[in-house]
């Protein structure tokens, strides 16, 4: 029996309704009510990955191993990866069919966050670029 079939069988409720048909609340992980061990495994994997990514971030700052101007990009990539680890292993937001609503809400949130942060940085950098330096303005008033 494949792993997917196994999970499918576990999700069958007492009233014959299949768990597969019901949405999952964020944070929920259907493993059957007694399987604490496999739930623990998920959290341990999450903690391990998050620790690795955190150590990598702090280590990157002091290293000469990569090209210095690339460090900020690498830090941002590591942070996004770690946020993904937290979402999957701690909040249990996955792309499974029972999680569609949660993932769609997340996608909308990410869209707004990207628009707000990216748009602000873009516009303000543009303004800075086009704005006359303060002493030039002073000279014009003279």
């Amino acid at each position: 029996m494949s792993n997917a079939d196994d999970r499918h069988a576990q999700r069958r409720d007492t009233d014959g309704l299949e768990r597969y048909d019901i949405d999952t609340a964020p944070g929920d992980e259907y493993l059957g009510d007694t399987e604490v061990g496999s739930g623990l495994r998920g959290y341990v994997i999450g903690l391990g990955l998050a620790t690795l990514l955190t150590i990598a971030s702090f280590w990157l700052l002091g290293t000469n191993l990569i090209w210095a101007p690339g460090i900020p990009v690498a830090l941002v990539v590591l942070a996004i990866a770690q946020m993904g680890v937290h979402l999957v292993f701690f909040l249990h937001i996955t792309t499974g069919p029972d999680n569609t609503n949660n993932a769609l809400a997340l996608a909308f949130g990410v869209l707004i966050v990207v628009l707000v942060i990216g748009g602000s940085i873009w516009i303000m950098a543009n303004l800075d670029h086009n704005l006359m330096p303060m002493n030039a303005i002073m000279n014009m008033n003279r």
């Binding site: 949405d23 609340a25 604490v36 700052l61 830090l75 942070a79 069919p97």
Partner: protein, 216 residues
């Protein structure tokens, strides 16, 4: 063709196969636990959108030090690393607490929650100590636009953690007084989501504020 065949071929129900699934238009409303969790998830996302505005303000103002100290001079990365470890471990122990709730093991639950509280409280203490040091060396929120944005962003996260600590104690008291009742379990689910979300925001925060600030 049975219902399972349809599901295998179209697991996301893109072609409108509903069967008798609750919460999908047919078969009645979704269970309360799903509705509560989804609503709280929407709240968390709106909270993250609010934080994104503070992040945007910080990113724009990070270089505007008005002749005052810059981030690279002020930040103590060892302190930040300890704060990060405390919050990450507290997220893990919060996960252990939710496993304990699933297994209805109350002693395990209290221990995990107590450890979570201690880790969260030490995070807050370290942050307050850092703030006090900065204010003492004339780098308070009124010194420059950079520091105003810094204290707003980091302080707002700290307030969230403080609120989370109060909520944590409330949840321990409620489980103690009322037991593993359905409504209490839903509240605990919301609490654990909140606590994990705070850690996600901290990941963005230590990267954008401290690590990028120190590498500037």
């Amino acid at each position: 063709m049975t219902a399972i065949d349809v599901r295998e071929r179209d697991p996301y129900r893109l072609h409108g196969g509903h069967g008798h699934a609750p919460g999908h238009g047919d078969g009645g409303p979704a269970p309360i636990r799903i509705v509560v969790g989804y609503g709280f998830w929407i709240f968390l996302l709106s909270d993250i959108v609010m934080f994104s505005a503070f992040f945007a303000a910080y990113a724009v103002l990070a270089g505007k030090t008005a002749g005052g100290p810059s981030g690279a001079e002020l930040f103590d990365l060892r302190n930040v690393a300890i704060e990060t470890a405390a919050l990450l471990l507290s997220s893990f122990t919060c996960g252990l607490a939710s496993l304990a709730v699933t297994a209805r093991r109350s002693s395990w639950f209290y221990v995990a929650m107590a450890v979570t509280f201690v880790l969260g409280a030490s995070f807050i203490l370290l942050e307050l100590r850092e703030f006090a040091h900065m204010v003492a060396r004339d780098a308070g929120p009124t010194r420059s636009a950079f520091l105003s944005a810094f204290f707003t962003l980091v302080g707002c996260h700290g307030l969230h953690v403080t609120a989370g600590l109060l909520w944590l104690l409330t949840m321990m008291a409620q489980i103690f007084a009322k037991g593993f009742r359905d409504d209490i379990l839903r509240r605990f689910m919301c609490f654990s989501l909140f606590w994990h979300a705070l850690d996600i925001i901290w990941v963005a925060l230590f990267t954008v504020v401290y690590l990028l600030g120190a590498s500037r």
